[in-house]
């Protein structure tokens, strides 16, 4: 098992290097530059904008810039944002808690809905419950989050006036009221994201479960006289969860990366909105750092998924 993990780790290093190189080149070749706003500002003479470009190394050849970046990164220096002139890691750490809270809650909500509903639907295929669950799931993942988000705002904020639609990072209340406010402002984004995720996950859990439930060993377990609940939870679910783990593990980076659209709609100051505003202002160091962290997370969670497979089905790690 440890050899298996080590092997996977060794593969991860060159892939991360490769990813960083590709990201860097793509960003360097992308149009636009961080000082575009200066171009129409009459206070700033063109020479100043040009001098800034030189100072921040934007006029160096790509390979030099990449070497600078990668050596700094290895030393733990993430660079600094051209736009806010502060360190990129500070910027990201500031946004991370909000993202984890909102997107993490949404993922938990999705799992909490998808697993029981999917499992229950699979045990009674084509029953009324299954039909309704399926229909709702289809509707759920057909509606994009920007649509449901706006719909929620129109209904709950504007018409009913129950919930705020601008997310505030620092709520002034203290104690219990603070908790209430935190929950209140997260309800809409969490619902929008959670329901969307739940919809596709339910379908996934259901079909994985359906595959397993017909296997001979499940029938054997039943034949031994085990109760239905025990058969489903102890025997069938463990195996059915393998593909589900893959799906959830691959979605974990998204929890850290934030949901760009949803964060934008509700003004949630998370990583996603940081990424989008940095892309819009061509703040390359931030974009580079965020996307690279994202890539690292993808690699890391793939690794975790692999390890989990080994635990769920020991045959996998032996091969």
């Amino acid at each position: 098992m440890s050899q298996y993990v080590l092997r996977r780790l060794l593969i991860a290093v060159p892939s991360l290097l490769g990813i960083s190189l590709v990201l860097f080149i793509v960003l360097a070749l992308a149009p636009g530059d961080p000082f575009s706003e200066l171009a129409t500002n009459p206070n700033v003479p063109p020479e100043v904008a040009a001098a800034l470009r030189t100072k921040f190394g934007l006029d160096d050849p790509i390979y030099l810039r990449y070497l600078h970046w990668i050596t700094a990164m290895l030393r733990g220096d993430w660079g600094f944002s051209f736009v806010s002139r502060m360190n990129v890691d500070t910027l990201i750490l500031q946004r991370l808690p909000t993202t984890l809270y909102v997107i993490g809650s949404a993922q938990l909500l999705a799992l909490a809905i998808a697993i029981p509903v999917g499992v229950y639907a699979a045990t009674r295929p084509y029953s009324i419950f299954d039909q309704i669950a399926n229909t709702l799931a289809f509707i759920g993942f057909s509606l994009p989050t920007f649509f449901t988000g706006l719909l929620f705002i129109l209904v709950f904020s504007i018409t009913l006036d129950w919930l705020p639609f601008v997310y505030t990072t620092d709520i002034k209340a203290t104690g219990f009221r603070w908790v209430i406010e935190q929950v209140r402002q997260a309800i809409m984004p969490v619902m929008v994201l959670g329901l969307f995720q739940a919809a596709s996950m339910t379908r996934f859990v259901r079909s994985a479960m359906l595959d397993v439930i017909r296997l001979d060993y499940v029938t054997t377990a039943r034949a031994k006289g085990l109760g239905q609940a025990r058969v489903i939870v102890k025997h069938a679910m463990r195996n059915a969860m393998i593909p589900v783990v893959t799906l959830v593990a691959l979605q974990m980076p998204a929890v850290f990366g934030g949901a760009i659209v949803t964060e934008q709609i509700f003004r949630i100051p998370g990583i996603g909105s940081l990424l989008i505003s940095s892309i819009l202002s061509n703040d390359t160091p931030v974009v580079m750092a965020v996307t690279f962290v994202f890539a690292c997370l993808v690699v890391l969670f793939n690794l975790i998924a692999d390890v989990l497979y080994g635990w769920l089905d020991p045959r996998i790690s032996l091969r």
Partner: protein, 598 residues
């Protein structure tokens, strides 16, 4: 004629033979507006009167929290690094300049004790220097006194190229001297008619020497106070998350009496303009929304029964269509739109005039801008004394068609006009932005009716406005026949704004397209007028020169002004914001208050 009378009258006011009020009343009789009259007085050498303050509260504090919503959040809080207005707005919450601009374009004192004038000896008669007296007793938020040393330091800080300050352009050509602890003198290299550039308005905000002195030049980025502003403003810094939120609280030692009104301030960023308008006007979650670029019918709908309203401020921002004077489709020495070429179609004045006749500004106002726009024939739309009265515009497809017909452009089999084998086909580009695409459609339709084929192109704003040399789609390269956008006019003086089109600033490959004259228009008369105006200290002659510049642009149809755009803000019904078209939204924040309700 009027010129002479005006001069006599200004002299009378100077000598005290006529009071300001009767001067303004006489000017009204001439058909001028009151703000314009006071401007003429001011530029005529009569000390500028501060605009009457609209501030009503009689004690400090008690206004509760003020919640501001910016749809682009400020990303840094050092005025010398502010790349856009949003950053200037954020730093301006804490830092202050010597003076700022009120809604009429009058100067208003902030850290200065008096407005420099010829009378009080602040202005040198030769236009070579200006002396500012500082307000005594002003303290930084950490209790240290504000003195002339701070002002001088800001100049040294910004002019150092290693600091990489975006305010370097304001500071590098002047010299700032300390006269005594509360007096500074700015010395110019040549007679400077517009002397209120450095230390005035949001870009002129002053940072404390005692906290930044060690971080001048190459170390500028390391200053801890880049993120923790310690200013002299009405609000003290509490918290900052870039792109998200800034919070401040009332500064109890603030130097203006009874101010500020609000106990706390919060500026939230992010999202988009429509939902910002909604959060202020419809649901009332926020008190003030910045730069609401939303179509007017949407705003009107939100305002029905809402908790807020829209507020407008008139400045000099003009949305224009620029005409390319060079040929974008021929390469000379590896350069398109080279100054060595002539545009094959647009070099015909008849074509340019016809295009101007085909821009239906009434329709553009009605369909798109509504209350946020004014139709205009001029490129230069303010302040009042610089606005030309010699021009006019009209929309007429028939006249345009006749003009083209008479100039020899005959309709071909496909309905498109041609002459000497050249078809009247034009490429019209702009940045991606709802109102701009709608304007394009309106113009294209009219052109089609007159036999001009217009192809539309829209470029992502971050590319269009970038200074990226490698990109062919920037506005400065101008690889199209027509292009539309707006260049914000950031101060109530046209010098900066109009200088851009001097022929020595033509954008070329040689200057990496950093030249500001992107239509590549070359006109000797214009160059001469700009050069003369730069050194003209007689305000009336100077205004006449800029009007002449505008009229030359009009005659040559360099720009077709599509709309004189107003600033649009959203405010809660009870809030009394003071917003100037000549300044940043937060520039007059010390005068904001909330009307008591009930």
């Amino acid at each position: 004629m009027l010129d002479n009378e005006l001069r006599t009258m200004i002299d009378e006011v100077k000598d005290g033979r006529m009071d300001r009020r009767s001067f303004v009343q006489r000017m009204l009789a001439f058909g001028l507006t009151a703000p314009m009259a006071t401007q003429i007085l001011a530029v005529g050498g009569v000390a500028m009167a501060e605009g009457p303050s609209v501030y009503k509260p009689t004690k400090r504090g008690g206004g509760g929290a003020l919640k501001l919503l910016w749809w682009q959040g400020p990303t840094l809080l050092n005025p010398h690094f502010a790349t856009g207005t949003k950053d200037q707005d954020g730093s301006r919450l804490f830092y202050e300049p010597l003076a700022c601009w009120d809604p009429d374009g009058n100067m208003k004192l902030v850290l200065a004790a008096e407005i420099p004038s010829l009378q009080n000896g602040g202005l040198a008669a030769d236009g070579m220097s200006v002396t500012w007296k500082l307000k005594p007793g002003v303290k930084w938020h950490d209790g240290k006194p504000f003195t002339a040393d701070d002002v001088v330091f800001n100049w040294e800080y910004a002019r150092d190229p290693a600091t990489a300050a975006v305010t370097i352009g304001i500071h590098r050509d002047i010299t700032v001297e300390k006269v005594d602890d509360l007096t500074v003198r700015i010395v110019f290299k040549k007679p400077t008619p517009f002397w209120a550039d450095a230390f005035v308005g949001a870009p002129g905000s002053i940072i404390p020497k005692h906290l930044f002195a060690e971080y001048k030049g190459a170390k500028s980025r390391e200053a801890p106070n880049n993120l923790i502003p310690v200013g002299t403003g009405p609000y003290k810094f509490v918290e900052f998350r870039p792109g998200d939120v800034i919070r401040g609280e009332l500064y109890s030692d603030y130097h203006m009496p009874n101010r500020p009104h609000f106990d706390a301030i919060e500026m939230k960023g992010g999202g988009d303009a429509v939902s910002a308008a909604r959060a202020v006007i419809q649901t009332g979650e926020y008190d003030f929304g910045w730069n609401i670029q939303v179509e007017d019918d949407v705003l009107l709908r939100l305002e029905k029964g809402g908790k807020g309203k829209t507020v407008y401020a008139v400045g000099g921002d003009t949305e224009f269509i620029a005409l390319n004077f060079t040929d974008p489709n021929t390469e000379v020495d590896g350069e398109r739109s080279s100054i060595k070429t002539k545009h094959p179609l647009l070099s015909d004045p008849a074509v340019r005039k016809a295009l101007s006749l085909l821009v239906d500004r009434d329709a553009i106002k009605k369909v798109i801008y509504g209350r946020a726009g004014r139709t205009t024939p001029n490129f230069l739309n303010g302040p009042e004394q610089f606005v030309s009265k010699n021009t006019s515009w009209e929309f007429s497809i028939e006249k345009a068609a006749k003009l083209l017909e008479d100039a020899g452009w005959k309709a071909g089999a496909d309905g498109i006009r041609e002459k000497d084998g050249k078809k009247l086909k034009l490429l019209y580009q702009t940045a991606i932005n709802g109102p701009r695409q709608k304007t394009q459609a309106i113009v294209k339709q009219a052109c089609q009716k007159a036999g001009i084929d217009v192809e539309l192109k829209s470029v992502v704003a971050s590319v269009f406005f970038s200074s990226d040399v490698a990109n062919p789609d920037t506005y400065a390269k101008f690889y199209a026949d027509l292009e539309m956008f707006q260049i914000p006019m950031s101060q109530p003086d046209p010098a900066q704004h109009m200088r851009r089109y001097h022929s020595r600033f033509v954008a070329t490959k040689e200057n990496k397209w950093q030249g500001t004259n992107f239509p590549r228009w070359v006109n000797k008369d214009y160059d001469a007028a700009i050069d003369a105006a730069e050194n003209e200290t007689d305000p009336l002659k100077r205004a006449a020169l800029y009007i002449k510049c505008n009229d030359l642009m009009f005659q040559d149809t360099v720009f077709i002004p599509a709309m004189h755009r107003l600033k649009v803000e959203a405010a809660a019904n009870s809030l009394r914001p003071v917003v100037s078209g000549w300044a940043n939204e937060t520039d007059n924040l010390f005068d904001w208050y909330r009307e008591a309700t009930g």
